[in-house]
């Protein structure tokens, strides 16, 4: 019989009632979607990227729809960690689901301070470390694209908090496995992947880039094959749990990620085409499991790696 516990999954120390999270930056601080459905139905919420100081974000336009995808250049608009703790965290704690805070720094120091500050707060399940931020001290290359800088950020956060550290990998790299290994060696408890692919669009009438920031991050179904490939490769190389994301719309997409090696999944862009998509994915997974009463979601993790 499929019980609720068939869907339970564990990302390291963190137990999730089901494997379906919502992805950072797409769900705000859960204020808005709360008006549509009970957030407690979700496995967890990855809140919007938080920085040390408040950030205004990038100039508009910030969004451009592409074939089966979405380009965004939000630029981490957020109220800063202090206002987050004051104004958002108390509400988030009471939502009845796991809260994962996504942090972004523009120097190693900033990552460390963010982790320290959040370490003092209760009610957080984990920190998700966004290493796709430009390193202002190193000429703007993002931390996440080199194993050394990715490891350095991880170590810094690891030293600054006792919370589980989930590191979010950038897909804009030659060798995702090399980065994953470096980050795990540096103390990551789990990996989340993928962040957005770097892309752009041009308006042929205006003869200018569409986005105010020229470049944006590509998400949505268009990137799913790339995300799945990376999960697959990383699963074969590391033993920490993986949280998979990138184009998940329905439960079959989620199954693909889980069978490729994800312990949990997150939905971002999928919310925009149907705000209820996370709930439908949960239902769909339940239905799939119901076909085989012996099986739980945990049995499916990485299932596609072994020959039939």
């Amino acid at each position: 019989m499929t019980t609720a516990s068939s869907l339970e999954t564990r990302v390291g120390r963190v137990t999730l009632k089901n494997p379906v999270l919502v992805a950072s930056g797409t769900f705000g601080f859960a204020r808005e979607y709360e008006r549509l459905f009970p957030i407690s139905a979700l496995g967890g919420v990855m809140v919007t990227g938080i920085t040390l100081e408040p950030r205004a974000g990038n100039p508009p336009p910030r969004l451009m729809e592409t074939p089966a995808g979405l380009l965004n250049s939000i630029g981490l608009e957020n109220p800063g960690v202090h206002k987050f703790i004051e104004e958002e965290l108390p509400r988030l704690r009471d939502l009845g689901t796991e809260i994962i805070v996504n942090i972004s720094g523009f120097s190693l120091d900033e990552y460390g301070r963010l982790a320290e500050i959040l370490d003092k707060e209760t009610g957080l399940a984990a920190l998700e470390v966004n290493i796709s931020c430009p390193n202002v001290k190193k000429g703007g290359m993002t931390f996440g694209v080199h194993p050394e800088s990715a490891a350095a950020v991880t170590r810094m956060v690891r030293q600054s908090t006792s919370l589980p550290v989930w590191v979010k990998l950038s897909p804009n790299v030659t060798d995702i496995v090399e980065i994953a290994q470096a980050v795990v060696d540096a103390g990551a408890d789990a990996l989340t992947l993928i962040n957005t692919l770097s892309g752009m669009a041009i308006d042929p009438e205006k003869r200018r880039p569409v986005l105010g920031n020229v470049f944006g991050g590509l998400s949505g179904p268009a990137v799913k094959p790339v995300a799945l490939r990376m999960i697959w490769q990383v699963y074969q190389a590391v033993t920490v749990p993986l949280v998979g994301m990138g184009g998940i719309i329905n439960y079959r997409d989620a199954l693909e990620f889980i069978m490729a090696g994800a312990t949990a999944v997150a939905i971002g862009t999928g919310l925009f085409l149907d705000p209820f998509s996370p709930l439908k994915v949960i239902e769909g997974l339940q239905g799939f499991l119901a076909k085989n009463p012996e099986e739980t979601i945990r049995d499916l993790i990485g299932a596609a790696h072994c020959s039939p």
């Binding site: 930056g25 797409t26 769900f27 705000g28 204020r31 808005e32 979607y33 008006r35 549509l36 919007t48 205004a56 974000g57 100039p59 508009p60 336009p61 910030r62 969004l63 451009m64 729809e65 074939p67 089966a68 995808g69 979405l70 965004n72 939000i74 608009e77 949505g220 179904p221 719309i249 862009t269 919310l271 925009f272 085409l273 149907d274 705000p275 209820f276």
Partner: protein, 268 residues
């Protein structure tokens, strides 16, 4: 705000080659909650198709809480609206709404100037119809003048409805085929507005028009509100994607707007 499955009651082209359509839907929940200047997000693709991916924002032209209906006017500009234009009575549509901060109450104003440009017109009609809401224009002894601009005569739609609502309608067309030959701001200047003739204005249309309207009205010292458009993803304030620049910094068009007090939005 909710997700509602709406039924298509009718879908009619407006004029010959305007690309404009009039859509009437059953959507009782959304009809009940709507206010002037609010919008809905509509999924404009087959259930299983992922292209186009995102919902399309469309203003609520009229809402009828008692009948459980809403009306929309849209122009076919791309693949989403093209898909929408091929729906038929009986089809269902997935809607999210009503969304956004619409126009403020006009209760305290008496002579109100409305500026409509193209598909910005539908956003304004709720101001004079306000069905099911506290007061209607006549009750409040209000006078409305609508300055309605479009590319050509054929694209000036539902003039009769506006007139029936007691609104004085002045038109402007880019090609001079009806009304003033030029923009709505040109038409407004030609009116030679006297001091105190209007105490408020509301405007909805393309950005260049809104900018020109805001500048002109500032010259006359008339306060007002502007209804903006911006590309949207979530439509409910979560993604920070639809911001426009204002004097208070970036503001979300979908939830802080789409209606902003004149003077707040920074154009250019």
């Amino acid at each position: 705000m909710q997700v509602e499955t709406a039924g298509v009651i009718s879908l009619s082209p407006l004029g010959e080659a305007t690309g404009l359509y009039h859509l009437v839907l059953t959507a009782p929940q959304i009809a009940k909650e709507s206010g002037p200047g609010q919008f809905v997000m509509v999924r404009c693709a087959d259930e299983q198709s992922l292209d186009p991916l995102l919902l399309r924002p469309l203003n609520i032209f009229r809402y009828h809480p008692a009948a459980g209906r809403i009306e929309i006017i849209f122009r076919v500009v791309g693949r989403g609206t093209d898909w929408l234009a091929r729906r038929r009575p009986g089809d269902s549509l997935s809607l999210l709404g009503p969304l956004g901060r619409g126009f403020s109450s006009l209760e305290k104003y008496h002579r109100i100037l409305l500026f409509a440009g193209g598909t910005g017109m539908p956003a304004l009609f709720g101001l004079v119809e306000q069905e099911g809401k506290v007061g209607s224009s006549t009750e409040h002894n209000q006078e409305f003048v609508l300055l309605y601009g479009a590319r050509t005569k054929e694209e000036l739609v539902f003039l009769d409805l506006w007139q029936a609502a007691g609104v004085k309608v002045l038109t402007a067309t880019d090609d001079g085929s009806a009304g003033f030959h030029g923009t709505v701001t040109g038409a407004a200047e030609a009116m030679r507005i006297s001091p105190g003739e209007f105490d408020f204005y509301c405007a909805c249309g393309p950005r260049p028009m809104l900018q020109a309207v805001q500048e002109l009205m500032a010259k006359y010292g008339i306060p007002g509100e502007l209804c903006l458009e911006e590309a949207m993803a979530c439509g409910i304030g979560a993604c920070m994607g639809c911001v426009c620049e204002t004097v208070h910094g970036y503001r979300r068009v979908c939830t802080d707007g789409p209606v902003f007090p004149a003077g707040e939005v920074k154009f250019s």
